[in-house]
Amino acid sequence: MLKIQNTLNFARTGRTMMLAGAAFALTLAAADANTLRWARVGDALTFDPHSANEGPTSTLLHHIYETLVGRNTDGSLAAGLATEWSIHAEDPTIWVFKLREGVQFHDGADFTAEDVVFSMDRARSETSDFKGLHSSVAEVTAVDDYTVHVKLEGASPLYVQNLTNTFMVDKGWAEANGVVAPQDFKAGEENFAVRNTNGTGPYTVVSRDPEVRTVLAHFAGHWGDVPQVTEIIYTPIKEAATRVAALLSGEVDFVQDVPVQDIVRLEQTAGIKVTAGPENRTIFFGYDVSSEKLISANVDDNPFSKPQVREALALTLDRDAIQQVVMRGQSQPSGVAMPPFVNGWTEAMHVYSAPDYDKAKALLTEAGYPDGFSVDFHCPNDRYLNDEAICQAFVGMVGRIGVKANLVSQSRTIHFPAIQNNEVDFYLLGWGVPTFDSAYIFDFLIHSKEDKRGGWNGSRYSNPEVDAMIKSIATETDLVARNATVAKIWEKVQEDRVLLAVHNQLLAYAVKDGINLAAHPENQPKMTTVTFD
C-alpha cells in the first residue's frame, strides 16, 4: 500500500508528474487495515448528484454526498441529514424535516435548510434524472435554519421513501461553480459537477479516473463516527471472470457483483467469504392481457386475454427448476412479483404451486387452443442475473403444452422502450422497489397508462376499479386503511394473473476473510458499515 500513499502524496503536493492508475499489490498481504479495495461491474457514470438515477452512481455517491433519509440493511429508513421527519400535524400535504445540526460540507460550509431547499429544487429541475420521484412536490421551503417543509400537491404518506437517493448539495458552491442545474446534454458543455464534488458525506474524493479508479479518503469533518475504512479504492471491473480473479489474486478486497456461477466456488475458497442476501428486485413475465389481437401470434385473437391461458402458463412455470438449474440456487422463487421487504408483501402471496402440465394442457384446450399457439417472447440479455437463460428455460416449459415461444433476446436499450411503447406481446421484466412500498409497483406496472402512471404497464392491464384504488393509496394517510387497500389491489392483481412472478434476485458480496459487510437490499453497500476482524 506504500505505492498508493505515494500516489496521494504526489497528487497532494501537486507535482507536475501525476501518478494515477489502478493500484495493485502483488503480495498476498491483506490490505492496509483501513484501506478497502472495492471492485464492481461498472463505475459511477457521473458525480453530479442529480444527473443519473442509476444504481452504481448512487452507490458511490452515497459515500460523498448524503441524503435526508437513508436505508438500513433491513430496508427500514435511517436518519441521515434529517434527524426527524413527520407529516405536518395540521396539513397532511406537508412533510416536515428536522435537519441535523453541525454538519459541514467538504469545503467547510455549513449545511442548513437553504441547502436542502436548493438541492430539492435542483433535483426537481428539468434536466434532473430524479424529478420523477418528486413530481408531486409543490414547494420546498425553509422554516428556519434546521427545519424544512416539503409541500406536496396532495397528501402522500410515503413520500419520504422517495428521498433515499436524493443528495444534498451546497447552494453556495453550486452557484459559485455554475452548476445550479444538472448536466444538459443539449448545452454541449460539461457540467462542473460531473467531476467535482462538495458533499457532506463521510468520504472526500482524492482522485478520480472514470472507469479506471476512484480513491476516496475519510472526511475528518464528518458528523458521524469515524469508520474503520478510512480509504476506499474503487475499481470497476466489467468482466465477471476478471473481477473474481482480482479477488482471488488479492488485488481487491471486496467484489460487489459476484457472478452467480462463481458463488459456490468462492464460498469454498480459503480466505474468501461470501455474504448473500435478498435483493430488492423481482423478476416476472408479462403478457398483453387486453389487446384484441397479438402482434406476433399465429392466431387471430389474443390468447393472453383469456384467464385459462394465463393460468395454464402459470402451471407450466417450474420455479424450482429455474432456481436450481439457471440460478444455481441463488434466487428466491416467488408467487408474487414483489420482494419481501416491500410494504404489502405477505407469506400467502409468496407461496407458489408446483407445475402441472396436464392441467395446463387441459386449460389451454378449454381456452380454444388444443394445438397451442406461437408468439414472440422478448427478453433482455444484459440487465438481470441470467435473464436470457431464464427465458430459454421458460421457452422449454411452455413448449410442453404446445405454446411455441420464439425467443427474441435483445439489449435492454431495445427491450425497455419496446415494453414502454406496447410493442411486445410477451416479455421478461425485472422490477426494483426503491420506495419499499407496493404503490411503486402498482403505479408503474398495474395502473392504466396515463400521464404519470402505467409507464411500464406492458401488460396493458386496465381496470378502472383497481386504478381508483391505486390513486386512493397515494393520498390515504390512515396507514391501516391504506394497507387494507393495498391488500385488496394485490388480491385482484393475483386473481387476474397480471404478472407471472418468477423469483426475487439474491445478491452476493465476496470479501476477503476478516472483512465484514452485510448485503444491502438496494445493492448500495456503505463502506462506513464495514468492520475488520
Partner: protein
C-alpha cells in the same frame, strides 16, 4: 509525393464521413439512449422531452448533418453516459489503446517473423512442429478465453502479473503512459500477449509460407551459389523479400489490433477506447459511438497510407517514376 499524400488524406475525410453516415443509420438498431439515460420513474412525457432535447426525433439525415457539421469543427458533443466531452474522453483513452496495440503489434511482429523464419528454415525440426501446433491452438481459441486463461495462470495461480487495469501511469504532457512505471509495464504483459497472439500466428504463418516460397527462387539459389553466408542469404536476401507482402498484412493488422482491442480491453479492464466503445454501445451513447467509429476509420485510412508508403520504400519496382525504361 506530397500531392499524393494530401489527396489520400482528402479521401480519408470522405471515408470518415461515409462511416459516420452508415453508423448513424445503424444506431437506431442499437437501442434507445433515452432508455438508459433516465431512471425507471421517468414518465412518457419526460422521455419525450429528453428525446426532443437530444434531437433524437429528427430524421436520421438531419442528426447526421448536425453531427457532421459539429464534427468538422472538432466538436463531438457530450457523452450521454459519462457526461464529458467526447473528444476529450476518446483522447484520454487513446494512449492506453495505442500503447497496448503498439506493444502487442511489436510482439506479434517480432515473434511472428521470428517463428515464421525459424519454421521455414527448419521445416522438419521438432521445435518447428511444436511452434506450428501451438500456434494452431492459439489461433483457434477465442481471445476472451486466452485472456482469462492467462489471468488464471499468471495472476491468480502464480501471482506474477496483475489481472486487470493499467498499473500506475505517468502523465507526459497530455499523454498518460504506463510504460514508465514497473507496474505499468507489468500490467501490459498479459493484455499485449492476448491481443497479439492471433496476429502473431497470422504473421508467423504468412512469413513461413512466403519464406518457403522465396527460398525456392532462383535469386536465392544464385546467392548461395555465390558463396554468401547463410545469414546473408536467409536474412539479407530471403527475409527482405518475404517482408514485402508481410508488411501490407501486418500494417493492416495493426488497424485490426486497435479495432479489435475491444475484447482484450474488456477482459483486462484496460481503460482504452475499445472498452469505452463497448460500454457506450450498451448505453447507446450515440456521440461516443459515432466518434469512435470515425476514429477507427481514420486509423485504417492512415495505416493504409503508411503501408502504401512503406511498400513503396521497400520495393524499388514500385518506384515507377525512375523506372523509365533505360535498356
Amino acid at each position: 509525393m506530397i500531392a499524393y499524400i494530401l489527396r489520400r488524406l482528402a479521401q480519408s475525410v470522405l471515408v470518415m464521413l461515409v462511416v459516420a453516415l452508415v453508423s448513424f443509420s445503424l444506431f437506431r438498431f442499437v437501442g434507445d439512449p433515452v432508455a438508459t439515460l433516465m431512471g425507471q420513474e421517468a414518465t412518457v412525457a419526460d422521455r419525450e422531452a429528453l428525446r426532443e432535447r437530444l434531437g433524437l426525433n429528427e430524421p436520421v439525415y438531419m442528426q447526421f448533418a448536425d453531427f457532421a457539421m459539429r464534427a468538422v469543427q472538432g466538436d463531438f458533443g457530450i457523452s450521454y453516459r459519462l457526461q464529458q466531452p467526447v473528444a476529450e474522453l476518446i483522447l484520454s483513452r487513446l494512449p492506453a489503446t495505442l500503447e497496448l496495440a503498439f506493444i502487442s503489434g511489436i510482439i506479434a511482429f517480432v515473434f511472428g517473423v521470428g517463428f515464421g523464419v525459424y519454421t521455414a528454415l527448419n521445416r522438419t525440426g521438432w521445435l518447428s512442429n511444436v511452434i506450428m501446433t501451438t500456434s494452431l491452438i492459439g489461433v483457434s481459441l477465442p481471445t476472451f478465453l486466452i485472456g482469462i486463461l492467462l489471468i488464471w495462470v499468471f495472476a491468480v495461480e502464480l501471482q506474477w502479473l496483475p489481472s486487470f487495469g493499467r498499473g500506475e501511469t505517468v502523465d507526459v504532457g497530455s499523454w498518460r503512459t504506463g510504460l514508465l512505471t514497473p507496474s505499468g509495464r507489468a500490467s501490459l504483459v498479459l493484455p499485449a500477449i492476448t491481443l497479439g497472439l492471433y496476429q502473431m500466428t497470422l504473421i508467423m504463418r504468412l512469413v513461413r509460407a512466403e519464406m518457403l516460397e522465396v527460398l525456392r527462387t532462383d535469386y536465392i539459389k544464385f546467392a548461395r551459389a555465390r558463396g554468401l553466408t547463410n545469414r546473408a542469404v536467409n536474412f539479407g536476401h530471403a527475409l527482405k523479400n518475404t517482408l514485402v507482402p508481410v508488411i501490407t498484412i501486418t500494417g493492416l493488422q495493426l488497424g485490426s489490433i486497435i479495432a479489435f482491442a475491444i475484447i482484450t480491453e474488456t477482459v483486462f479492464q484496460w481503460p482504452g477506447v475499445g472498452a469505452l466503445f463497448i460500454n457506450s454501445v450498451q448505453f447507446v451513447d450515440v456521440p461516443v459511438m459515432a466518434a469512435y467509429l470515425m476514429m477507427i476509420a481514420l486509423v485504417f485510412v492512415v495505416i493504409n497510407l503508411i503501408v502504401d508508403l512503406l511498400y513503396y520504400a521497400v520495393d524499388p519496382r514500385l518506384r515507377v517514376d525512375r523506372a523509365v525504361a533505360r535498356h
